[in-house]
Every structure is written in structure tokens, then in C-alpha cells.
Symmetry: C2
Subunit: 561 residues, 2 copies
């Protein structure tokens, strides 16, 4: 593409002037010198003509100037790009905004980003905010003397829709006054090239800036800013996920899984992926999803429970799994979903199920510590959106508070909740109340409730050796809500059959037969636990609703996106 | 419990002897000295009595000796233990066999193990093989002079069923001659205590030793040893999983996932868990499992494809997932299952989809190298059961061979397979043949087939910019079979709608609407890939059938255990 010729300076007018030399005596048509009046008339005419010429000259000059200004020397430096089909590979060097600060002052960089917004300042300048994940930077487009950034380019940039994807070339420039509209406060980008890779519509179904606004700011705005409901967010999840809080939440969620595995791999756990399609409802018939499996019925696993136990019987001393768990529970609560992510482990032990409970406690403390040290940036970002007290936990697994269920009920009784039964499950409200009592008494948001009543645990739970009303089972609690449920399991096949009958479960039913049989072929004492990933995340961060910790949550009503 | 009194030495008999002094002249009933004949008679009688006494004495001595031998001083050192209900916690120090060798000579250790077999040698000695995961050791029980190991204890140990779980106390003893019946060859355990924790039945549904026998040994036995079929193994999976080969296979499978994540975490990928319950068949209507979701239908995700793309659109530049993938394909082959584990990744790229292809190649090489260096023991164990050539791959991602689909078809044509079409998918047989040709030409078991015909890829695949008959898509091959499928995806919403219509997919159908809409709100160019975990494992190790790489495989027929 070639630029048009530069405008010619008004040289033509200047040469016309030169053709009219002064100091020559004017003559009339017959060759005689003119009379005074004629001369006067002539002078007037001349003056008139000169004025006209000057006017014309000025008009032309102005026109040329206008044309000069409108010619765009920057056309190659901006504009929409052809849809990327991997046509070429120039192998340029691209930068992550996460690595940019005032320390990079003067560096030329190239990066792809989302255009968060644009703000024109007159015709010659435009500010933009450019975002990548959790990082954003202010960009500045200013018309340049060399024509490389033109007025047209600035105008075009200012017209771009928010949330479009752009490719940016620019130079990092240190700033003295902190920039508050972007996460990078000490530097901005002086943009030299700007291309549109993917255009967002003029009006998005949900505005990013509304979704990204801290709840506190909305509250304090006294109605100026509308609250974006969770339903709206979830309906428009691919926009909502771009908010800083969500970018941080899901990095934290990813880290929880990573830290879980890190701790258990170090203790020689082997990671498995057990089947989710099973022949029988694994834990009684209720709350199970039915699948059409060719010509018969199958079910979705309500947990990897039976399979992780069979793996222990299969000679794997220590197993773990991270995978989906399906519960066809038709209730809408702040902490239940029909599909969630289970972090599961199971292991043989030597003497006492507390060996396993202690490993679980150590693992969770490793997770909390890992988040606090390696994901501080993310936690701080979430806290801007959801302000909550720091999560309190002991640094040493030995210091984790263990409250026996019976004693927990006593604490509730002493606090006036005398209606609570020591042999029935706690309501969500009483769980939370107990959490507050434990926090007051022991200054911790993380504790273990041990020795649950047998009647509220599944058939495979080992009863307490001294009082079978209770069992060798435990829940781990965060901020007064359950995040982990576990127990010693019955490893004796005959006793297991007895217990199943007692719980009204048929040991011979398809699917369960293999499970019971496996224990007949020699089984070590074992225990384990299952953690809800989204529970850990939403309670650690205080998000108030488990759906905020799931990228695409599922409940009885919501099956999309 | 107190032991009975030690047997009294035969002191009584000795004192009786003393009561019959020699040198006294015998008299008859009337007081006269006896005649010679009478004396002779008397002598005979005396001799007879003496013989009888001696006989009696000997009998008593033998009886006492028998009694002495039968009294068991070792009753506390062996026997069945009460079912473990975590009654006590003595906090003993337990050992892993993996850490035991001749270097521990003389050390007293305690460990829980599976009793692989017992072999009595006379009444006073019994050899046992004790196993933990991939490690086993020979144990020796020998009647001891101090009575702490008794004949009864040896007899009891010899009678224990194979595959029972036992608790062992013993001392490590270096041996000079290599022990071949256990994996620990340079040491054995001199057992002092042996308790039964869980008893296996006298006859297991499938014998461990049969399942554990290397295929080669079975073959060479000329019918002496029966081959255990895969179906029998899978029916009795909790016994089959105990074999050394399986203990190694699933440690390797676990490691593949770990190495996959390790590589991608280092490149700032974020791990997600996308929903498996979805509102619409994600990739066309075929091969999808239907779920009854409260009052409506849902489907099981055939891949996390649509969701991982939506996450990229949601501002996560680089995402990964490990999770189950469901395919309702009604065919029984050596490499298909109805549920398998997908290792998935998706990422935005800057210039060309080969950026992503190269990361995938680097990741897989990281996996192969990690297995080879850190899991050599496991690979060697598997190779004893399944002998196969070492897997050949380049150490540098830049050296991975990339063959264009078109050129691969040319290679097949040149090798005489002129029927192969350059615009249709390859049959399994032709895939393998091409793998062999690539191996011959480039000496590698690992290569990339790039630029597949558009018609054989899903609607979301980006066509090649120069020839839309082909597409920006690739398969990664191991030993001539596909383990990874990936592509650049269409990120332009309008073009995506067009492509969907061209492929006969309705862009407005429930479930797909959210997907298409997400690209309208700004989407970067992106590409990714999905790997079948079990495929990588079974092809890397040469297991011949994908089911051997799944703990509890699922196919149209098998839904248990």
C-alpha cells in the first residue's frame, strides 16, 4: 500500500507574484501613459484583484492544509486484522503484562490483550486500558509529529468496543503519578501500533465494568451502580469469568488441587481415575442420576468411595483421585451442587484411623499455607471484591483442634441450644453455631469433628469399638461448614454384610457384589476422606455461595452454560 | 496369660533305681538262702521286672518329652488379631519393604504385608513371601531354642491362606545367595511374631501366582501353566491389580498425569474441572450418553472441548483439565472404551497454531523423559510381563517429526497402499502402517500428523488458509496409533455459525447457543488438544489392550466391577 503524495507547498501562488514586477510605468491601450484618474482607477482595480488573489490564495492554502491533515500516514499501524488462520508466523517476541512495571521503562513490547475501555481526550489523544488475566495496564495513543500515530488512528482506537481483543505494539514508560485505573500503577504503554483481532459488540449482554466492580463500591454508590446478580453473572459466565476476582478465584481453585496432590504424592499416594459410570447406586438408591447405557441402565457415581476402597484391597496402600461427583439432590442451597469436584484419598493404616485423619489435617494445612504464601496476590484481589476476615488455622497439624461429636453437642447445649440431639446430624445452622463456639474457644476457623453417630454415616463406616452408637468417622470444618467427610471403613467382609443389612442395603445387589466380595480376598484396615474442592475455595475465600467457586455450576435448575 | 509349668525331668525314675541296692544275698520265704535254680529264676524275674520298669520309664520319659514339646511358649507371638476398630494406638514404628535391603542387616522391623505364599520345610521351619505393592521379601520362621517361635507357630504360619494380610515383627538378615522368589534378593526377614489381620479364603477366585506369572513363562511352560484371560483378570480385578505388573502400570499412569500437570503449570496453565452434565450433545448427536436430570434430559460430555474454549474466551489464556470423557460408541476394539481419562489443554496463541502444537510436543517429551528417568523400576517390572521394544522419541521438541496428512498418504501410496484417499480418515490398519513407515524413515515411535482433511474433523476446526479441503489440525501418534487430537479452533462467531451449518449442526440448539454466543463477545485465536491417558500408557508400555491401562475399564459390555 502506498501513501498519496505529500501536499505541495503553495509555490504556484508565489511564482505568479513574481510575474508582476514593480517599477514599470503603466500605459493605456494606445501606448500612452495613463491619466491620474485612470491611474487611480487602475490602482483600485489592482488592489481589488490583489485582494481577490490573496483571498483565493488563502482559501487554497487552507484547503491544502485541510487535505494535508486528513491524509493518514499511519494506515499500516492500526486497523482490523484478517481472521487469524495461522497464515504467517513472523516469530515476534510477545510479552506478558504480569512481567511489566516501571523497571521496563523504555522497552519496546508487543502483546495481545483485551481492550477494557477507551477514553478519548480531544482529537489527538486516547487512553485505553489493556488487560491480560489479572493484570492490566494503561495505554496511551497520542498523535505524533512523525505521522506514525495519526488523528485517524486515535479516532479509530477511541471507537473500539470494550472487551475486543487487540494486538498492541508500544513502549513502556514510567509514570510519576500512580495509575489507578489499571493494576500496573507505575508504568503505562505508549502505543505505536494497534490492531483489532476480534471485535466485541457495541453493547455486551453484561458489562465487564459492572461485573468487576467491588461489592462495597456498589453498596456505597447509593443506587448509582446496580448490583449484578449471581444469576446474571452465571448466564453470562464467559464475560463474568474475566473479572479480576474470578481470574483470581480459579487460579486459587487450581492451586488447591495442585497442593493436594503435591502433599500426597510426597507420601507415595498413587492417583487414579475410577469409573463414573457404574452398575448400581453406590450409596443407597437415593440421589443418583440414571444413565441410559446401551440397552440397560447405569448410574453416575455419587463418589469414588467403593472404587478407592477396592484399590486399597487391590494392593495400592495409598490412593487419591480428583474427579467429578454427582448428586441428584433436588435442593437449592448456598453449598450444594449436583456436580462438584471431589478430592478423594484412601489409605491402609497400621494401628488407628487417626493416622489417616492426621495426614488429612497435614494436607489441608499444606493447602492453606501454600495459598497464603504463593497465592497472596490472588487472595488480595478476591478480598477486594469479597471482604472477609483472614482464615484462621494452626500451622502445625498437631495443633488442629479435634472435638468429639458428643462434646460438640455439649458445647451447643451449654450455649442454650438444648434441643440438639447427640445422636442425630447437626443442622447447617447448628454446624455454623458450633463453628462460632469453637472459634471463640480455640481461635481457629479449621477444626475436626470426630466420632459421629453411626446412624448418620453410611453403611461402610466402622463403628466405635466401645460404643457402636458412635463411629470412627470425622468431618473437617472450615468457618463452621463441612468441607471433608471421612472415616475408618469396615474391612471385614462378614461384618460389612451384616452392617449393610442393618442399613437396609442389599449386599448382593448388582454393583455392590464385587465390592463386598473384594473384602473376602484379604483387606487391610483402611480409612480415607473426600473433600469438596468448591467448598474449600468458597469457604477459604468467604464467597458466600459455592457457585462462585465453580466455573460452570450445576444445580437442579441450572444446566447451562 | 501364664505359661504352664516346665516339664519335670525324670527324677522319680532315678530315685526308684536307687532303692534297689546291689550286694544283698536273696533269701526264700522261709529265710533260707535260695537254691541255684531258684536264684536263676529270681534273676530272670528281676531282669523281667527291670525291663518292664525300664520300658515304663522310657514310655513316661517319651510322654513327658511329648508334653514338653507340645506346650507352646509362643502363643503371644502369633495368631489371628481381633478386627481392627482402632481399639488402641501403640505408636510402633512401621517399615516399608521398599526401603529394606542387606544394608539393614540386623535391624528389627515391623510391617504389615500380604502373605504371598507359605512353604513349610519339615515341622520346624517355614518360608513365606511377604509383599507390599511392588516389593516382596522372603520371611523365615524357624523353631527357636528359647521357645519364642514354636512348632505350633510354624505349623500355623504354614497353614495360612495366600493373600491374607499379616502383621510381621522380625529381624533383617543379609543372605549370601540371591533370593529369587521375592523382589528383595539380598536379605530376608527372620520372623519373631506373626499376626493375621485379614484372612483370605483357602481358594481365591483367581490365583495371584497365575495372574502374576510373566506371559513368556506361561508360553514356555507348554501347557503346564494356564493363561489367565483379560476377562478373568477384569472380573477379579482387586486380585489382578495386586500383580507386580499392575502395581507398576498404575504408578506409571499416575505419573503421566503428574508430569502433564508439572509441565503445564510451569507454563502458567490453570487447571479446571468443567461440567460433565451438559444440556446438549456437544459434538453432534451421535455417541452420547443420555442422563435423566430431574424432569428433563441431560447428556454426558464427550469431551471438555466447548468448555475449555469458553474458558479461554473467559480470559484464561491457558487452561488444562484431567477428567473423564464419555463416548457411547457401541464397538469393542483394543483401543476404545466408553469412559476414559482425558488430559486436555487449550490456549490462546499469538501468531500460529504451531505454537500450541510445539507446547504439546514438549509436554509429551517431558512425560516420556520423566517416565524413563524417574519410573525405570516400574517400566522394568512391566517389561517382565509384557516384553516390548523401548519406545523411541527425540529428546528435543524441535526434533519431533511432523508429517503432513497429504504427505503421509503419499508415503502409503509409495508403499503400495494406493487405495488410501488423501481426503478421508485413515483406517486403524493404515495408521499403524504409516507408523511403521515413519519408524523406518525417521527412527521414531512418536510423530505428528498435521493438516488433516477438514471433512474428518469437527465443525469447530479452523480450515487451512490456503486450501479449505485441509485444516489446521493434528494428531500425535505413538507406535502408529493416535493418542492426541487437536487443532486451531474457529474463534470468529460468524464464521463458526457458517461452519456449523456446513457440518449440519444447528448453532441455535440448546447448549450450543452459549458456546457460539461466547465468541461474539471477543475471542482470541486459540488451539489445543486432548490426550487419552490410557492410550498413552498402553502404547508407551506396549500392553496390547487399552483395558490393561484402566483400573476398572468400561466398554459396551463391561460395566463392572
Amino acid at each position: 500500500m502506498s501513501s498519496p503524495q505529500p501536499p505541495t507547498e503553495a509555490t504556484t501562488n508565489l511564482s505568479i507574484k513574481d510575474e508582476k514586477p514593480d517599477g514599470v510605468i503603466p500605459l493605456d491601450a494606445e501606448g500612452k501613459p495613463l491619466s491620474k484618474s485612470a491611474l487611480k482607477k487602475l490602482a483600485k482595480e489592482k488592489e481589488k484583484a490583489e485582494k481577490a488573489a490573496k483571498r483565493k490564495e488563502e482559501e487554497e492554502r487552507a484547503k491544502a492544509a485541510r487535505e494535508a491533515a486528513n491524509v493518514d500516514h499511519a494506515t499500516e499501524n492500526y486497523g482490523p486484522q484478517q481472521m487469524n488462520q495461522s497464515q504467517t508466523r513472523p516469530n515476534l517476541n510477545y510479552t506478558w503484562l504480569a512481567n511489566i512495571s516501571a523497571a521496563n521503562d523504555g522497552e519496546d513490547i508487543i502483546f495481545r490483550a483485551r481492550l477494557e475501555n477507551t477514553r478519548a481526550q480531544g482529537a489527538k489523544m486516547c487512553f485505553v486500558v489493556l488487560r491480560q488475566g489479572m493484570d492490566s495496564v494503561q495505554g496511551l495513543l497520542a498523535v505524533s509529529a512523525d505521522g506514525k500515530v495519526s488523528k485517524q488512528m486515535v479516532k479509530w482506537a477511541a471507537s473500539l468496543s470494550s472487551e475486543s481483543i487487540v494486538l498492541v505494539h508500544g513502549r513502556v514508560a514510567k509514570v510519576t503519578e500512580e495509575i489507578k485505573s489499571a493494576t500496573i500503577g507505575d508504568a503505562e504503554i505508549h502505543i505505536s501500533k494497534l490492531y483489532l483481532l476480534s471485535e466485541a459488540p457495541e453493547k455486551l449482554p453484561m458489562l465487564y465494568e459492572d461485573a468487576n466492580r467491588p461489592a462495597k463500591v456498589v453498596e456505597e454508590s447509593e443506587g448509582k451502580f446496580a448490583t449484578v446478580s449471581l444469576a446474571t453473572r452465571l448466564d453470562n459466565r464467559t464475560i463474568d469469568l474475566r473479572t479480576l476476582a474470578n481470574q483470581a478465584i480459579f487460579r486459587i481453585s487450581s492451586a488447591v488441587g495442585m497442593l493436594f496432590r503435591e502433599y500426597l504424592f510426597n507420601l507415595d499416594f498413587v492417583e487414579f481415575h475410577t469409573p463414573k459410570l457404574i452398575a448400581a447406586a453406590s450409596e443407597g438408591g437415593a440421589n443418583v442420576f440414571k444413565v441410559t447405557y446401551f440397552n440397560r441402565d447405569a448410574f453416575l457415581a455419587q463418589s469414588p468411595q467403593l472404587y478407592k476402597q477396592m484399590l486399597v484391597v487391590g494392593g495400592f496402600e495409598r490412593v487419591m483421585e480428583i474427579g467429578p461427583v454427582f448428586r441428584a439432590e433436588n435442593s437449592q442451597t448456598h453449598r450444594h451442587m449436583t456436580e462438584f469436584t471431589g478430592l478423594d484419598m484412601e489409605m491402609a493404616f497400621n494401628e488407628h484411623y487417626h493416622e489417616v485423619m492426621e495426614i488429612l489435617a497435614g494436607m489441608l494445612i499444606h493447602v492453606f499455607q501454600g495459598l497464603r504464601t504463593k497465592f497472596k496476590k490472588e487472595i488480595d484481589i478476591v478480598r477486594q471484591q469479597f471482604p472477609i476476615e483472614e482464615f484462621k488455622f494452626p500451622n502445625n497439624p498437631k495443633d488442629v483442634v479435634v472435638v468429639k461429636f458428643k462434646d460438640g453437642v455439649k458445647m451447643l447445649h451449654e450455649a442454650g441450644h438444648t434441643e440438639v440431639s447427640p445422636t442425630e446430624d447437626l443442622s447447617t445452622e447448628m454446624e455454623r453455631t458450633l463453628g462460632k463456639l469453637v472459634l471463640e474457644k480455640y481461635d481457629t476457623d479449621f477444626y475436626i469433628l470426630d466420632k459421629f453417630p453411626s446412624s448418620v454415616r453410611p453403611f461402610y463406616t466402622m463403628p466405635d469399638p466401645e460404643d457402636p452408637t458412635y463411629s470412627n468417622s470425622y468431618d473437617f470444618m472450615m468457618r463452621g461448614e463441612e468441607i471433608l467427610s471421612g472415616a475408618q471403613r469396615v474391612h471385614d467382609a462378614n461384618f460389612l454384610s451384616e452392617q449393610m443389612k442393618k442399613f437396609g442395603v442389599d449386599p448382593e445387589q448388582p454393583g455392590l457384589g464385587d465390592y463386598v466380595q473384594s473384602f473376602r480376598n484379604g483387606a487391610p484396615p483402611h480409612a480415607g476422606g473426600g473433600i469438596g474442592l468448591e467448598r474449600v475455595v468458597f469457604l477459604f475465600l468467604g464467597l458466600g455461595n459455592i457457585r462462585r467457586a465453580s466455573a460452570f455450576p450445576r444445580d437442579p435448575i441450572r444446566l447451562r452454560p
